[in-house]
Symmetry: D2
Subunit: 457 residues, 4 copies
């Protein structure tokens, strides 16, 4: 079935669609995985001496041919999705092979197991590699800018200096931890083959060790069984995985927010690269908008909200109700948005322009008040009984008189003795705030290198 792409309702289909993701998370991808599960079942039935090898071959061939289109046609007739799939496979094999298809299985043995497999795969093969590429770009940039002094900002106000590489290293560290968590959580999605209510009612008619049988089928797909399941696997592992996917998106959103603020006209420390033909506004030809960072923050607002649906699906009555029928189908979109945002972030950060003159200009806007902390700390260390208050008053004076803090300090009688006792290095920083960066540069490098090595980037 075809349809014009732009008749789609969801931007994830007409605008942010990604072939890599679709391989796993489209409806076609889902069909493919459900067929893999049905095939794994028949393989193990054969291994256990229940069905002949030829049946396996027939089923494997049939599974290779079944299309989602025909499954939907059959479902239209009988109103049951998995029975429709089973019928489609059955229609392509001989009478003698038919009974083995879906044998002992209930629909959710297939569906939950297929979902566990494809979500594991898409995280391992698409999401994590995408995030890893971004991590690589962030590491490279953090190392390159490790020594680039930048004013630190808290509350949107100038605080004390850092380096731009240090700021980026924070994202290297946060994203690194998230990637590790995702890798781990992807392997913890359980499958199931315990039948209609999880008690192996059907399979225990055939096998003395129905749990062994289950484990064997799941092993074909690289999964292990849930310790206990009902008609469905317990939902917690999926929630944990998606919680971490949302966390990844939050890290991207935070970086995007920072970057678009640093791109403000008045700040201008970084910029999205702009194509030669690119238009910024349909009416204001001079505009250079941070559209990619805005887009990423926008996707965060999509994704954060949708996690609520995943959480609401945790409650399923008795051995299951089906009130997650439509909602669980939407989980994949969350991953699709995060992958889209990750790829966009990678492209944008790779070409980020860093405006050194603006970085330097911004550092001294407040005429050295940013080292007020330094002064307070040194006074305190020298035993001044009310150092914080003393410096607060001096900065107010500097502001009022529009002079630098250094000048005001120099002219203050009480300060004289304290200034004398300062080390030359301390006095140097007082004159040159760009020296007051603590271990920012070193930290930027250590953190970036650690993750570079850990991930072999």
């Amino acid at each position: 079935m075809g349809r014009n792409l732009f008749d789609s309702l969801s931007p994830v289909d007409y605008r942010y669609w990604d072939e890599e993701v679709a391989k796993y998370l489209s409806e076609n991808g889902f069909t493919r995985y459900k067929l893999l599960v049905e095939l794994a079942l028949v393989k193990v039935l054969h291994r256990r001496g229940i069905c002949p090898e030829v049946a396996v071959q027939e089923v494997e061939a049939a599974c290779g041919q079944v299309t989602t289109d025909e499954v939907y046609e059959e479902e239209d007739r009988i109103r049951h999705d998995i029975r429709a799939l089973v019928n489609c496979v059955r229609a392509k094999v001989s009478e003698s092979a038919k009974p083995y298809i879906h044998m002992t299985a209930t629909s959710y043995d297939i569906i939950d197991t297929a979902n566990a497999t494809r979500y594991k795969d898409v995280v391992q093969k698409v999401l994590v590699p995408s995030l890893m590429k971004l991590e690589g770009v962030l590491i490279t940039t953090a190392l390159r800018e490790a020594e680039t002094v930048q004013v630190g900002r808290t509350h949107g106000q100038h605080a004390v200096p850092i380096t731009f590489g240090f700021a980026l290293a924070g994202y290297v560290s946060r994203l690194g931890g998230c990637i590790e968590a995702l890798k781990s959580l992807a392997t913890e999605l359980p499958g199931k083959f315990s039948g209609a209510v999880g008690a192996y009612n059907a399979s225990s008619l055939f096998f003395d060790d129905p749990e062994g049988f289950e484990a064997e089928v799941l092993a074909e797909l690289g999964l292990t069984p849930a310790e206990h399941s009902t008609q469905i696997v317990p939902p917690e592992a999926m929630i944990r995985l998606f919680s971490e996917v949302v966390v990844a998106m939050g890290i991207l959103a935070n970086l995007a927010r920072d970057m678009r603020n640093l791109q403000r006209t008045e700040i201008g420390e970084v910029g999205e690269e702009f194509g030669a033909d690119q238009v910024g506004s349909s009416t204001m030809p001079q505009k250079r908008n941070p559209i990619n960072f805005e887009n990423i923050e926008s996707m965060w607002k999509i994704v954060v909200a949708r996690f609520q649906t995943v959480l609401m699906d945790q409650v399923s009555e008795h051995q299951r109700d089906l009130t997650n029928s439509a909602s669980a189908r939407t989980y994949g979109e969350i991953i699709a948005y995060v992958v889209s945002a990750t790829k966009r972030m990678t492209r944008t950060m790779r070409k980020l322009t860093v405006d050194r003159p603006n970085l330097e200009r911004n550092l001294v806007i407040q005429k050295g008040s940013v080292v007020a902390e330094l002064l307070y700390i040194i006074l305190a260390a020298q035993g001044h009984p009310d150092a914080h208050e003393k410096v607060r008053v001096l900065t107010l004076q500097a502001e009022r008189e529009k002079r630098s803090l250094e000048e005001v300090v120099a002219g203050d009688a009480e300060m004289k003795d304290y200034l004398k006792k300062m080390t030359p290095h301390q006095r140097q920083i007082l004159s040159n705030p760009s020296l007051y960066t603590g271990i920012a540069a070193k930290k930027a490098k250590v953190v970036a290198k650690e993750w570079k090595q850990k991930f072999g980037l």
Copy 2:
């Protein structure tokens, strides 16, 4: 551009897609509306003597030809969606008509106005009519079942009797109020034509009354201007509309929850109609599952969560940021899900089976304890000083002795005098709980008829 339907990532595109909705809310629908806005602008420029009639004709013809496919191609080149659209229209008209296209407009004059128009239209032409059909079915059923006695349930426990029609009349009333709210809110979405920052900077170069000009363009589309806009219309009207759309979905979810509980094997008072070929379970051939009601409740879980995205988009910095670029594109899906759920609910309720024997059986499960309230009220009215406690103790006795409350009361010494003073009608109800339905039947009819008349159904 085509692609196999099942390569879609969102179930709203491969499974719950609806042609009626897509006409307005697909990307093609959006393009169509944006072109309508561009055309409305040129028409008013002509009316105001700025552009010749032939330009209007050229633009109208051009707008009829522009496809989303070509707009996306142009956007790929210049990275700006509305400028791309404008370029596509410009490419189809003569040099002399070119300058009038998009004249004085900023992108969001087009986008926000197009959105207001299409959301108004889809609510008025698809959502409300769908809900109205459902309302019709609920009214018919409420009237038909107005006298069908059913035990009332609170906390999942039997309370005192109602009628099934009375229960449905509650949904008639709630849905009726929601439909009226939707109709009203759909007309309150403002448009805008106030330029890049909302101050009519460009249009005031051409018109003494730029606000008059704006009103004139919007009138072409059946809209009125926001009292004040920035680059965008204030978001509140859209939030209010979507809040009500979510409210509609909640009413459907509540009805679905009720129906699927009434369909429980042990209760069995209603049932989804089951097709002759329909399969209930891939492995349990006897199952008759409330899959439609479950599906509707599932869609509620999608929709409730997504409203959070709409709320988060309320904050836009200064004269706007673009952090709603991706997220605002997803709003239409909310409506698509609600329309899908509404149509499904209509089909399902239309064929709902009502099992009268089960209704009668359930009414007497508790051997008349359901009239304990009646007894307590009458005792109190007769001046018993501790009526509630007295009856509570009697019901405990009835439960312990597995006798009906009526019997226990008859055997209680203290009760004798009170029983004597009861009216015959009161004694009759005590023996026959199905008479203790208050004005349920009357109320069912009055409410149903009022909405039937109000909506001309």
Copy 3:
């Protein structure tokens, strides 16, 4: 019962508690309203000739004495909140008055009616007046700053100029609309007196017109009945009210976001007033942080999330389940946070400092590129076939050569003829961007004055 205030777990109790709000929304406030409802019932029983006047007097006196403390003690004993309240009132009246207390009523006749009354009251008497005060401050400031030119910003980038008053007028308009909506929605909360399952089962034993009786009781409290209720009133009116409360919070959050961005060190156009003794940072004595605006945005994040709880409570099974028992108790906190944020915003905006030199400095940062739009519009109007592209290239040239757009235009051969055809006014704006403000100043005044008049501020 007392307890140290700081043993509280919720900041709404130990930090943001507000006496005005607590009068309605604390547990003591709730008790007071429930007693009002019980009293209203007895009054109407008397009016209808069922109970003697002396009983009314006794109940009125008793209701004046019942404390929440004693109700909780009784509830501890019998495990039912409303029966506990009823017992407390009963204990304070004569035997002959006892039977009339709570007569025909079910718990939720009292609870839902009490909630409707107190939410109506708190919105009308606290929330709306608070918002109105803020509206007054915004109007005053918008009028005062109507002519103060400010650069308009979209995407955090300089766009074309507005005035600061114009920006504020947008908030006047949005908040004004929200106040009107709140006033209206507060009056639409229905009460109920329809008994245990909504069918007037008990009251119809006493009254021929149980609906008339219900209306009479509710009229005592300024309410009207729901068209149809179950054990509870339909939840939609409460959802609509809270949706609008959340909308109010979103408007505050948007204003807060704008203000804290304008307070950034590099922008510095506005500032929160700072007390003489106020400390900005525990370690950086020079800091002037926008802590009030940050606090308001923080409260928005509390409130937006919690609306989800209100939405989830919409589904209640059959004639009601009690899964909103704890959750509905938390709704009042939403209002408490919004009132707290409103009062804080009012205080902060009232003393907002506006830095005119910084406003002027920022306006010309981009050397006149902000009038690129003007140039494009005029070229287009003069018939230039590719005006947008021409100006885009000129702005790139200006940026590259670090010259003003005006200079570059003056030096461009193709521009000569176009410049000649410009009106003097147009040329004037090109030299002085602060003139390119459209009708911003006028709009600021018109909008502010309209709401000033509408609200009699």
Copy 4:
């Protein structure tokens, strides 16, 4: 400061307050932890030879005396919470000790570290032990009911049998996994002592190894430092912890939903114990409502929504903004609700009544149709080419003719041969569905015992 308890606005303070939780998560608890951090700092300053031992003693004594009340008074004066705390400690020590208090620290070195410590503690000392008690009750009940046959339910419809212990074992397993996750996540909350922007600007003036100094201070509190921090610790560890807390609540909600459905009048398989004096309804004296299970589900709706606030706080601009000032103060309430729900669930499950006659009655309601699956599986295994369809038709026939499936099968010509080939055990199950429980009983025991042993319960 005192105030009547019932003037509180939040039910977590007037109704669900818990002393164990308040020790950590009240404002007084918070003050206590902040003081612990300030003290840890001075201890390490001493160990590193910067401050004399007597200063440590003075600070320790002072910290023991500072009350939240006086900190709030000081904050009222200077408008900064941590500086107020510092001033209160300073006021209680000699001039010579004053400079060492808060030395090199920024507010969030104290706040984030205090939060990490107290959230770790409350999870380890209150939440996990509470969940563990519940786990113990569930294990005991699962073992006791391991052989109690119960009909399995999917979609609210009878499926195939399980045992009640098997159903509970599912919760043992899910809760067990959650407890393990919580224990692990509680230890992963990082602290920080890296100063105002995270670059150790101040502490590197005093120490060659400021990171070593940080680690030493945090070790005093049982914490380790974040790999990289800004003014604040990266938020991800806190999000992960709260995600798991919400997961715990979801498991409780699921169990509560199941139990209250099993308590429905028509099902009646379990019941909340009812006190001798307990009142079920203010007007219906016979009611036995599942109010505890309802309350737990209600708390889930509170908690699920609020996690959204935690997620929204993940984005903090640059080296931090303060838009989490109010919102982060509300996180503790999430834990308070989950502890309250856990304790309630433990009490309720401990006294859960199990109604064996009702369990048996429900099992046979459908006259054996629940073994339709068995029949289909056996037919399929015997090579019937269309087993599912055959059995589906037979169950329809049984339903139509109101006969048991067994009878219909016995009378079906085609079935004869298949029946003959059945094993005696298979035929036995066909007559007695209660035998068709797979390995439910065994699984119940294995799972329950495994967690019993793992947790030493």
